[in-house]
Symmetry: C2
Subunit: 614 residues, 2 copies
């Protein structure tokens, strides 16, 4: 055993031959690798440092890929990747054509299920477990899920279904008392109550033993003991919520003690029924700055850890602009409420949380609830604003239609990370919010391209729009912009051309550069519903080029195009949009790949036709 | 007090002045009204008969609309409607321009929140409760929710958030041990375990009393008592899952004993904190056939109760065709698994459940889990088929994108009730599945128009399609059809015209009649992705008319149109589709209102332009 175990060992197979001491050595090597790589490539740090020992223990007890290990969210699987044949490629983490920062089955047979969104693991693992049962396969399905993910209803749906089975399914709770922000809700409080009580199981056993051993003397005492015994029985049966849900509960155990984890997992494996293993871990374990401030090290940018700003906070971004503006508006308007699904920092709402704590709601990773709750607040006379990443808003589709739109409730959505997101890859791309929202009656969508426009749009969404008012904006910072006026509606730049180029969102900056002074440019900011004035002005052109950093199918381009031709438009109309799932790469590279960068736009405008990807 | 209380009393205000005996009389009158109306108009019977006493008690204890009563699903609110000024209009239930079969705020100030989908009430009521807190309003928010709805993750998300508050929120569990089909899952088993134990609270109190009263004699006994006492304390604190979630738990109580319900609700009201009230009710109470077979009386058609078929079963429908075909295919293919979200009968899966119980999964009202679980089954080598109503599939949007599409998992969706649904109205219309699915990469959509086509499409979805394969079909029976060939692709009927009319789904029958032999007709069955051959053949025409019984915005029409014009099509293209939310009316009337009936189609084809609704 030397210092290059990750490189030289045959993993995960050889893991089983190591002593506990050697495992601990290996864990140190893993931690070093993770810290070095994440500080260079960006990625999730605190969560990965918390699951090193747990992952080693899991791969010693279970035999992937025959046993199916399903990681919830999947951003804590760097150790898993290092142990399953991806040591050499680990330096490509989150880079174009490199390793995904999440689980991706096409990357390795050890990645049992795609993951990037929260709370899916129990349902997916239970699917595996039932398939195994039907196939007569005695292996195990193992879901590893954080306490934060347990605030999502899907986790509960999975538990409710798996718990009634007799399958070999093991749910491992990685309990670090945090989701992305500090965990919230009654369930978190409950978990903490049993987490704190490490003597929980011991006490049960002790009491049982005492009851069996105590000699029964005298009638009143006997009566008492019989009463207590029967009451205790019901306790022992219904001792945790997980036992109520049909699982054998084991824990809580120390998630950084490999021997203890292994012993418990081996016990769980023998039981051959649904087992819930409660593991306490420390986020950021082994890297002091991340242990002290795990929120700041949840996800760090590719530029790496900023030593001069130990808070690791971004101060200039669309998210920050949104958060600060909302906070300022709320100073003057007591009706404004802010809602986040466990992403207070990432969506810029921490200012609001500090200034208006009584009107700030972190609902957990519960996007469904967030929307229905917002509709309830609106009914009660409030102005609710739900700030959420585009790809996570997908969870609210039915609530938007049923709970908000049907009764034309006024709620505002602040949709962050719309468009390409870079290193997070396909599960996090914000490419569906536009077609998703367009189909929902009583919905207005704004897509600002600068900070100033974002502020304008937020005000319009709050005060000049009925029903669902969505303001969508990209990840990151605004571009160095050409001096174009800000608006919450649309802006036509006339260059005297018969050719019109249209776009919305941040790529309008590429378009202005590409169009130069040869072609007229229409910037859409209120993108849906399409204004009559917009369709009318389009009728004057003989060539129209539409660019969208969003799904092409079912998008604004197709919709506007159909409106124009129905009005008798006779010219050409060429749409450039995004097709299919978009893999990780820098935002600029994604733009190039989907022909939304300045150069591609120039080519399209000059050649007069769409570029068909080869 | 006479026999016309509903007509003559000033309700709900005067309810408070009645004696319990008079209330019981009133309940009899209410039951009679409900039975008479539902047997005539169709609607939900069993659930409404189960909540008569509960509703009367709620309106005696709480003061709507100042107190906000939020009904989950809302199909059990007929008593509520009769008590809140809608006695006179009750005969219009579920008819065009009549009373909604669900809660609809625009209908009455007493309908606090829209409802038609399950598991939303706690989140909505909590929104009200927080708004009340911020407004300094001391009234109560009350959510009334069935045990079936508790299988949906949204209910848990709501509980998790409400339970940590200090608000005046009361959750009333209407526990009838049934959702639409027999309730399933670990949580249901848990509820039943506490339902059966009516002495639950008594025992707690008794044990507590004994502990306090027992004299402590001798050291060993003392040690024992101290141990037991501390263990019991934790029991008393964590005695039900609801207490774990931060609620005071009261119950279970008899849901047909007005005095007992009232007493408990008054106690709950005084507590001024989150309270969970567990009420046992009997579905179908007071109507023998419905008590014996509540599943058959969950929802009955407008044709009324069929005395000759006490099962009240439909034997000829798209649902039945789907269910029987799937069952037959599963006889030969052991990989096929069937999944329902608590709608075994309504989706025709009861045949499968009987023939292949080990491969049949009723997951509860958990559409999110259904899709993620299906993706897991697929990973495990199975062929999962999820049968679901169109409007309920909206809950699975993110799971379809993230858990199925991203990794190109092969799962089949049987989408029932696509298109207009008649009396159930706006919350149940199947108008969004097409634009929703079109935006999801790796998705194929079939929209058969006859039983034979449904069978063909199901086979194609299972065996000739990759990724997500959706087969969508309408509520009810197939039309008396003109003799047109069945296909799983498309069918062009040439009449030598330069004008082409295109449609899909059941309305193609209207189109064939409307077009006669003057116009060419293209029936699409595989509607997405659009075949190259389809776009090519369209290029030959100078006028195209597209009809869809689905959302016009973001739909197939707009998509096909954009494909054609990009290919250089020079003719006209007129789309007729559905805009906005569609209110209850017969399916035929809905077709007329949205210009999709034969007469409107004729007019459009002859006049050459879309009809703009006035």
């Amino acid at each position: 055993m030397n210092n290059n175990n990750l490189k030289n060992m045959d993993l995960p197979g050889e893991l089983g031959s190591l002593s506990v001491y050697q495992c601990e050595q290996l864990c140190r090597e893993i931690r070093k690798n993770i810290i070095d790589t994440v500080l260079k490539n960006g990625g999730h740090l605190a969560s990965n440092l918390g699951t090193v020992e747990l992952t080693v223990a899991i791969h010693r007890v279970f035999h992937s890929p025959a046993d199916k290990i399903v990681w919830d969210v999947g951003h804590q699987t760097y150790t898993h990747k290092l142990l399953t044949g991806r040591y050499e490629s680990f330096s490509t983490l989150r880079k174009e054509d490199g390793l995904s920062g999440f689980c991706r089955p096409e990357e390795s047979e050890h990645d049992a299920f795609i993951s990037g969104h929260s709370s899916t693991a129990i349902s997916a693992a239970f699917g595996y477990a039932e398939a195994m049962r039907l196939n007569g396969d005695n292996h195990h399905a193992v879901a590893v899920i954080g306490d934060g993910a347990f605030t999502g209803g899907l986790a509960y749906e999975g538990l409710n279904n798996a718990g009634k089975s007799k399958d070999n399914i093991i749910v491992i709770l990685n309990h670090n008392d945090m989701s992305i922000s500090k965990n919230v809700g009654a369930f978190a409080r409950y978990l903490t109550s049993i987490r704190g009580n490490s003597a929980y199981l011991d006490t049960k056993k002790k009491v049982e033993k005492i009851l069996n051993d105590t000699p029964v003397v005298g009638e009143p005492i006997k009566r008492f003991i019989v009463s207590a015994k029967s009451a205790l029985k019901s306790v022992l049966y219904h001792s945790t919520m997980f036992e109520d849900m049909g699982f054998v509960y084991l824990g809580p155990i120390d998630g950084h003690n490999i021997a203890e984890i292994e012993e418990t997992l081996r016990a769980a494996k023998k039981l051959r029924c649904p087992v819930f293993v409660h593991v306490n871990t420390v986020k950021g374990k082994g890297f002091r700055p991340a242990e002290i401030n795990p929120g700041a090290f949840h996800s760090i940018p590719a530029s790496g850890y900023n030593k001069r700003n130990p808070d690791n906070r971004v101060t200039d971004s669309f998210s920050e602009t949104f958060g600060k503006k909302l906070c300022a508006l709320a100073d003057d308007d007591k009706r404004i409420c802010a809602i986040t699904a466990s992403m207070k920092y990432a969506t810029g709402l921490e200012h609001f949380a500090v200034s208006h704590p009584e009107r700030f709601f972190d609902v957990g990773i519960a996007e469904q609830h967030a929307v229905t709750f917002a509709a309830g607040l609106s009914k009660g006379g409030k102005l609710p604003v739900f700030a959420v990443y585009s790809s996570f808003l997908q969870r609210s589709y039915d609530q938007l239609i049923h709970d908000a739109s049907t009764d034309n409730e006024h709620i505002v959505l602040g949709i962050d990370h719309s468009g390409f997101v870079g290193g997070d890859g396909e599960t996090h791309q914000g490419l569906f919010d536009v077609p998703m929202l367009m189909t929902i009656p009583n919905t207005t969508i704004y897509s600002p391209s600068t900070y100033a426009e974002l502020e304008l749009c937020l005000e319009s969404a709050l005060y000049s729009t009925e029903g669902i008012a969505a303001v969508r904006y990209p990840k990151g910072t605004e571009s160095d912009t050409i001096g174009i006026d800000d608006t919450d509606s649309y802006l036509l730049t006339r260059n005297g051309s018969r050719c019109l180029a249209i776009s919305y969102g941040r790529i309008v900056h590429n378009l202005y550069s590409a169009a130069g002074t040869d072609i007229d440019v229409l910037k859409l900011v209120k993108i849906f519903p399409v204004d009559e004035a917009v369709t009318e002005l389009c009728m004057d052109y003989s060539e129209i080029y539409f660019f969208e950093e969003s799904s092409r199918t079912g998008g604004i381009g197709e919709h506007l195009m159909s409106r124009l031709y129905e009005n008798g438009y006779k010219g050409s109309f060429v749409i450039t949009g995004v097709k299919g799932h978009v893999k990780q790469a820098s935002v600029q590279r994604c733009m190039e790949k989907y022909f939304l960068d300045e150069e591609s736009m120039k080519y399209i405008l000059q050649s007069g036709s769409e570029i068909i990807a080869t």
